[in-house]
């Protein structure tokens, strides 16, 4: 295991990341389009609305992530908060980059 | 001739070790002394087994010393209750005899080795005597025999602190013995007899007197001291810690158990359940004390740095379990107490033997000394692990059977607080056993230790340790005979009379 001090940009490079992102967008659009093309079997009624599943998937993640961002300052602590880290591991704390 | 031998067995169980002691002294050489020791121990173990069977068939075996009929002469009685205790004492003695040779050779100056054997034999004779005698004063005499020899045995420990510990034990033991004597004197004054069965029939008319009440108090306190019942336990940790390993192993497995037996022999047989637990609140007092013992001693055990000391504290906690069972004074409770009395003898004997084997190799018994010994002495360490699991009460070990029957009995008596205490104590036991196991297996050996840290203990020591461990597992897997015997004993005691 070696760790040269390289600092490549995040996610390969921003440019390369665009291809899968675009693909995902295309799939999403296709799935919205599919709403018109199949027979729905709703259990309750409200789950038969247009784009219900897509909306739930999208909104859930947005809300949950924002919630988690709120939560972190409240419960986040230093890695050796409980003082149980092994000597030697506890000292690693200062080094090592973090994201953003 | 054979029938005559069978008839004489109750006396022989005491006489053989008693006479083997002077023979050992005369033999003087270590190997000869050891041979006599082994012979005597296995002989009485065999006889104890035969007596156990005989008591099971006949209900009770009685023997009149000197041919004098019971109320006047000394009577030896073996009933289902003490037959089990007798089996424990002699069985542990027999295994101790295998263990003793290497352990004594390593820890005691060679010229004094024979003395350890002689004193052990006297101690065995005393304990066996306490167990089977049917005479109150005779019980005191045997108690003194076993006590005096154990003071001397503890004083022979390898460290200088052994002397002080033995001295403290001597003071406490003497006080306990004196209290017992005072108590026996008081009941003798009131009834004019010393035979237990006779006492039981003569006490009720005078039971309302303060003298008899005081007698019960003196006897219970005196014997509780010997049994290391909280808060009279304070002599025990030092005594067990500084005694030679073989002595710790033998005494921890037998001496306190026999003392507990004696307490309840007096309470149940002589004074009677209704008197001690009905008229007088002895049961409540003992239950409170045993509950405190379970928790306080377990906590103390967690903070020990010496394994022998840790085990000693755990013994005090376990005495709480035993007494709690007996003090319920229900058939289930008594049989649970008796079961744990036996099982704990087996568990603690095995654990002290394993620690003794580690001590044999390391010349130390602190937890730090044990670091990494799981690799260096795999067989002994494995024995300790199994013994430790039994102490915690893990299924398929004897300790689990004890825990199960004790909990059942406590539930039946609606003692929910004690249930909680017992569960808490068994959680605490995980911590202290876990500390030792962690040191044995998950810590590296210190670098500076090189030459003498490898290789197993001698065969004899391993054999004895594993025999006790095997007994633990056997009981854990097939407890029906033991439970049956304990239930018979409890039924006999609740029925009253010897």
């Amino acid at each position: 295991m070696s760790r040269p001090p390289v600092n490549t940009p995040r996610l390969l490079s921003e440019r390369a990341a665009r291809i899968p992102a675009a693909a995902l967008l295309a799939v999403c659009l296709m799935l919205v389009g599919a709403e018109f093309a199949y027979e729905k079997h709703p259990y309750f009624g409200f789950d038969g609305f247009f784009g219900f599943y897509a909306l739930v998937g999208f909104a859930t993640v947005i809300v949950a992530v924002l919630l988690a961002r709120l939560l972190r300052p409240m419960i986040g602590r230093h890695e050796n908060h409980y003082g149980e880290a092994d000597p030697g591991i506890a000292e690693l704390d200062s080094e090592g980059p973090t994201d953003e | 001739m054979i029938t005559h031998f069978f008839n004489q067995m109750p006396a022989l169980v005491v006489v053989v070790p008693m006479l083997a002691a002077p023979l050992v002294v005369l033999a003087h050489r270590q190997w000869a002394a050891w041979l006599i020791f082994v012979g005597a121990c296995w002989a009485i173990f065999g006889m104890a087994f035969l007596l156990f069977v005989e008591a099971k068939i006949a209900g009770q075996v009685s023997y009149a010393v000197g041919g004098w009929a019971p109320p006047f002469g000394i009577q030896l009685v073996i009933d289902p209750f003490n037959a089990l205790v007798l089996l424990l004492v002699t069985g542990v003695a027999a295994l101790t005899s295998l263990y003793a040779r290497a352990s004594i050779a390593a820890e005691i100056v060679a010229e004094r080795g024979y003395l350890v054997y002689a004193l052990l034999l006297l101690c065995i004779a005393g304990l066996v005597g306490i167990t089977i005698t049917g005479d109150a004063f005779n019980l005191f005499v045997f108690l003194e025999i076993s006590s005096l020899s154990s003071y001397a045995l503890i004083a022979m420990g390898p460290k200088r602190r052994a002397l002080l510990s033995a001295f403290q034990y001597l003071i406490m033991g003497t006080v306990g013995g004196t209290f017992l004597l005072i108590g026996i004197g008081l009941v003798f004054m009131m009834t004019g007899t010393l035979n237990m069965a006779d006492l039981a029939s003569r006490l009720p008319p005078v039971a309302d007197t303060h003298t008899v009440q005081a007698a019960l108090a003196f006897i219970v306190v005196g014997l509780s001291l010997k049994a290391a019942l909280f808060p009279l336990h304070v002599w025990l940790p030092n005594a067990y810690t500084y005694a030679p390993s073989v002595v710790s192993a033998f005494i921890s497995a037998t001496a306190t158990k026999v003392a507990v037996y004696a307490v309840f022999r007096f309470v149940f047989t002589v004074f009677g359940v209704d008197y001690a637990f009905g008229t007088l609140p002895l049961g409540e007092v003992l239950l409170v004390l045993s509950a405190i013992a379970m928790i306080a001693a377990s906590l103390a055990a967690i903070f020990q740095t010496d394994v022998k000391r840790l085990l000693a504290w755990s013994s005090i906690a376990q005495m709480g379990y035993i007494v709690a069972g007996f003090a319920l004074a229900t058939p289930d409770g008594i049989s649970a107490g008796l079961v744990h009395l036996l099982n704990h003898g087996l568990i603690k004997g095995a654990l002290f033997m394993a620690v003794g084997a580690l001590f044999w190799r390391l010349r130390g018994s602190s937890i730090n000394d044990l670091a990494g010994m799981g690799r260096a002495m795999p067989v002994t360490s494995a024995a300790f692990v199994v013994g430790g699991l039994s102490l915690i009460g893990v299924p398929a070990t004897a300790g689990f059977i004890s825990k199960w029957v004790l909990l059942s009995a406590l539930f039946e008596a609606h003692r929910y607080l004690l249930v909680a205490m017992l569960l808490l104590a068994s959680l605490l036991s995980i911590i202290y056993v876990g500390r030792v196991i962690e040191a044995l297996y998950f810590r590296a050996r210190p670098d500076d230790v090189t030459e003498h840290a490898h290789g197993e203990a001698p065969l004899g020591m391993q054999l004895a340790t594993w025999a006790l461990i095997a007994a633990n597992i056997a009981i854990g897997l097939h407890a029906t005979p033991e439970l049956g015997a304990a239930q018979r004993a409890a039924a006999g005691l609740m029925g009253g009379g010897t």
């Binding site: - | 005559h4 004489q8 006396a11 022989l12 006489v15 008693m18 006479l19 002691a21 002077p22 023979l23 002294v25 005369l26 003087h28 023997y63 009149a64 010393v65 000197g66 041919g67 010229e111 004094r112 003395l115 001397a152």
Partner: protein, 146 residues
């Protein structure tokens, strides 16, 4: 104590009578006040006196520690052996009646024998204890019963 002539002379005179008195107490034990325990103590007291006046070394020469060890053991053996003998003869432990054809005789002799055993053991142990305490810090005999 070498300069106390009176004490030395008196001791020399008294030791022998004490020993004889011990034997008297010993053998009259079964039907008059006395017995093995008392006799053993009296016997030991003679040796203790001797040791105090003439020194422990002298006492040790008179009665060596090895003898004490053997004595203590033998006494116990005599006691227990009698019991075993009664068993072998068909009685219970210490049932003296069976020792001799006549039960009373048997009782008589049986008691004398076991008292003798007790006496020997008590005397030996007493003297041994005296040796241990008196010899503390000065002399260490490997053979002494501690």
């Amino acid at each position: 104590m070498r300069e106390h002539t009176v004490l030395r002379i008196v001791t020399q005179l008294v030791v022998a009578p004490i020993l004889i008195f011990a034997l008297y107490v010993q053998f009259h034990g079964e039907y008059s006040p006395g017995g093995g325990f008392q006799a053993g103590v009296i016997f030991a007291s003679a040796i203790v006196l001797y040791g105090l006046i003439f020194g422990v070394e002298a006492a040790r020469r008179a009665i060596p520690p090895t003898a004490l060890r053997i004595g203590a053991a033998l006494g116990l053996l005599v006691f227990g052996g009698t019991g075993v003998a009664t068993m072998l003869l068909g009685g219970n432990f210490l049932e003296y009646d069976v020792l001799l054809p006549k039960p009373e005789k048997g009782q008589h002799y049986g008691l004398i024998i076991i008292e003798l055993g007790v006496g020997i053991t008590v005397a030996s142990v007493m003297i041994a204890i005296f040796y241990v305490f008196a010899g503390r810090g000065r002399h260490r005999d490997e053979d002494e019963p501690a």
